[in-house]
Amino acid sequence: MTGNPETGRGYLAERGWRSWAYTLDHKRIGVMYLLTTIAFFLVGGVFALLLRLELLSPQAKYFSDHTYNVFFTLHGAMMIFLFIIPAIPSGLGNFFIPMHIGARDVAFPRLNLASYWVFVAGFLVVLASLVSPMDTGWTFYTPYSAKTGAAVATLSFGIFLIGMSSILTGLNFIVTIHKLRAPGMSWHRLPLFIWGMYSTSIIQVVATPVVGVTFLLLALERLVGVAFFDPAKGGDPVLFQHFFWFYSHPVVYVMILPAMGIVSEVIPVFSRKPIFGYAAIAYSSLAIAFIGFLVWGHHMFTSAMSPLANAIFSFLTFFVAVPTAVKVFNWIATLYKGSITFESPMLYALTFIFLFIIGGLTGPFLAALSTNVQLHDTYFVVAHFHYTMMGGTVMGFFAGLHYWFPKMTGKMLNEKVARIAWALVFIGFNVTFFTMFIVGTRGMPRRYAEYVPKFHAENVVSTVGSAILALGILVMMWNFVQGLRKGARAPGNPWYALSLEWQSASPPETENFHEVPTVTAWPYGYGTPKGPPA
């Protein structure tokens, strides 16, 4: 199991499918997660393009309404459950958590491999459900999901398995971060990516079981007619929404916190300056995770909760804004008097901040009760969560991919092509999704296969944007493939970063470090002491 240093291929030295399928190496498992999730990102993206194509015309043109409904369900379910939840935590997290803390592997390597294969089993079950594809939206709201002809029970079971994989991964990371830190790696010397991953793991472990049970009950309602959510038997469809959002709201922080961690890594490296307000960024991750559990009701302001409950959820929701704002201020302050360069990881990190500010500032419209009642279930919401999830998480993911590509593969990317891709993604994204704020404010409901002609212009613009965005992502993927095939050999530390993962070879050896490192300082000691004091 030891990579041969002579080959220069590090942990990638062993070949053959068995060396991957049975591997206990957290890096290989991370790579398998990355490849799987990126594949689903591309498939989910194709569905998105089909949706945009149909919306070119106000009336049904290319697909029937039912087909459109299937497409947006698959787009949402794949992007959420098969891409964005596992991509950063299970992919990049698996690869870099042990390296960041100076460990040889995660705490339970066999459990880690089992998580991956449970994930695979989950998505195979999800694919099996395509014989009668879902048309309920990714929210599975009952009673529609209990009545529709689609294979809801199958899909629920698939997502239950994926949830189990997510729980086991989160558990593994919590134990790893607690118990396997290298000597000297105190909590306040942890890279901020680890703080983000730690907060994310807690949410995964605490929230996922609830949605697991919910999907189990939904499957049982279809199979044996249990009464939990069936109004005809005294059950309550609104209880389903409570259970669903008790998981599915916190899970947006599962998505965003690791991306924030990546941005907190990239910004200091390319500014050559220590991170500003380390403690505030670290603890705000925990604060977001905590407050995130108390705000699920803001998805249900029009679902017949009492006005008092609505007021409490609205009030708490606003307090998510504070720790997120703190992070944004700290990142911007890190740039102050830096020595900034704009390699592709930095471009994506800055894009993250830029788009996340827009996503964040449109949050209060939806947190305030009166405007929420206006904007709920319109395209405004679609725009808001794409700005935070795609503009936020996915840009953070791209930043991480570009940042760590040399470490993971031992090859450098073509920087010029990377920048072209970035420009296309940036323009395409804003054209696609900013128009959705406008059309949503004008009253266009979401999940509409057909719409009244007064919304036509915005939809055409949005579709054009989506084509640009897709082109950008294609160029990026092409660049990754080219980088793998003919990229220049990457040095161990191409960005001159201080965190531990860069102190290994590129690609790293199987057990990461020749000897367990001893940590004497935090990873953000850029800059010179000569500079003026803070």
């Binding site: 593994n172 249990v226 005294g234």
Partner: protein
Amino acid sequence: MSSPHAEHGDPAVAFETAKLGIWTFLATEVLLFGALFTAYAVYRAKFPALFQAEHLKLDRVLGTVNTVVLITSSLTVVLGVDAVRKGKTRLLQAYYGATVLLGGVFLCVKYVEWTAEFSHGVFPGTNIFFSLYFVMTGLHGLHVFLGMCVLAYVVLLARKGRLSENYTTPVEMSGLYWHFVDLVWIYLLPLLYLIG
């Protein structure tokens, strides 16, 4: 639980790691059942009369018998852990084997109960109370079954001579899990069988 990588070296660290792992796992289990207990609370508050009337259809005697069976099985687990700490692995096999048997008795009694209920025309889809009853006891029964598998595996490890007073981790972790399963039943009994 998978045992920690050999490279993590120090067995004391490995034990601590496994312990944190199993406690975190139990936390997820609490949330899993927690959702069902929440549903129980919501619907009992909404339909008190229904719960009062329907719970009389359950067999309190068999419920009590099963409680005694499970409490006894927790006792045998404690004795098993104590035995392995003293290095008596044969005794451990006996105690854990007994626990597996008691788990089997529990499931058989459960089978008798469910069969009787089905024959009285009571099904999971009958009403909210029985939906809760069947889902909660069913999920709990599944946990009992998985617990039996894990304990049987520990017995197998002991037979192969892989356990000693220096390596008790699988015994202690599986024991903790069994206690948790037992504890869930201690809540289920009054909530389902012994309403007001």
